[in-house]
Symmetry: D2
Subunit: 136 residues, 4 copies
């Protein structure tokens, strides 16, 4: 497993716009936190769908980095997301990704997203990343 | 059909963070444009996945507004997105949504996203919106 | 919770073509078994994708029946399925569904499918059912 | 393009349980027909979801065969299907697949399914096939 701070350092450098950070890793598992800011909100005091999508995408990405090492070029090929409950605009979003399959070319995982402190998920996503093949 | 400028005015007021605008409406159809900016880019000079997701989500939303009127409270319940080709970081994203079903409670559509000037889609999404029920 | 045998009896009567049966229920959980037969196989000695889809669909359905009672009219509105590993043609398929959201109008769950005796899933699905509204 | 009868002959030999047949091919396009029989029906006189899924999966498969030749080993990796309207139990199902991307390793397409004679789709699916790599 990678040290959490190494991955967060990598995100700060390579994804400067991204405000989501890793909280914990385990085998085929990553937990991330996204600090909700004004720019993430929608009318009615809710967090926008694209922000939840971005958190799901990042949770998958770091869970794969944790298995494969700091490969910058893994790319998302498919994400299916269901929006389940209205997020709390005053709480951070927490994403929990469990990888379902880690192959040589593809990795697949699912992600539950919560408003911190609640156990009712606000969204659930399943996604596939394509892993770049190293030439030797 | 709604006048394009009315919907863009609505987006400016109600979704101030959103930089995607309607270009054209037709029956069960909307075309949108997203001006790609520095904040939308990823390492390697490509547009981030969440930005393409946001464009797909907005294209669906405005296509539904065009059928149902300016209902602010329609919400996305599901989006499935496939990333197909690398977008061109120097071109606007164009989204074309065709609605597949417009029911009383649900509307479903699909969206192709292109880098302007190319006919090879960079992403394809299918999504469902829940339509709020008006009490009388 | 419903008695397992009541639901299997209901399936035998109402879905005579279906060979999948409930093994166990728990809160927001159902486990099903599908006896793989010659008609389910594909060239190369694998189980066909539509059979795995049917098992996922049925696992969701019975998990919802277990929460809502024997409502015959719940209908699938969306399923997203990823095929992960080649199933073993000589083993039964086991499906495990966990409901993610049980609302008044919609229920959403995810399903892992295994070849019996293996802990590597052969497929993973997420699906939505629409719950018919009882008129009073 | 492949002759329609060659592909139907291939299906008869290699997929003896499959009752779906090709009606027409065009560039990146296939149209298929599924004769609905008693075994395909559900209570309430509708066609079962797994049958519509199977038609979508087959339409994608033959559209890919038409581009790539009669490769028996292409496999589905992901399908997302939305059920839109109740099919007519007395009509054949017609599937129309358009390929969205045909790469060396992956092909992606979408499929509309209709009850014959209606222009309101009963289902819409998007799916990905993995193309086996030929060793030379």
């Amino acid at each position: 497993m990678l040290p959490v701070q190494d991955v967060n350092h990598f995100l700060e450098n390579d994804f400067p716009q991204c405000r989501t950070r890793v909280e914990a890793f385990d085998a085929q598992y990553a937990k991330v936190r996204h600090k909700v800011e004004q720019a993430d909100l929608r009318p009615g005091g809710t967090v926008s769908g694209p922000v939840m999508f971005a958190v799901a995408d990042l949770a998958l990405y770091v869970a794969i980095l944790n298995e494969k090492g700091l490969i910058p070029l893994a790319v998302t090929t498919n994400i299916n997301i269901n929006f389940l409950n209205k997020p709390d605009a005053s709480k951070d979003l927490i994403g929990e990704c469990r990888l379902i399959k880690v192959g040589a070319k593809l990795a697949i995982g699912d992600v539950f997203i919560y408003s911190e402190g609640s156990d009712k998920p606000v969204a659930h996503a399943t996604g596939t990343y394509s892993i770049p093949q190293q030439s030797n």
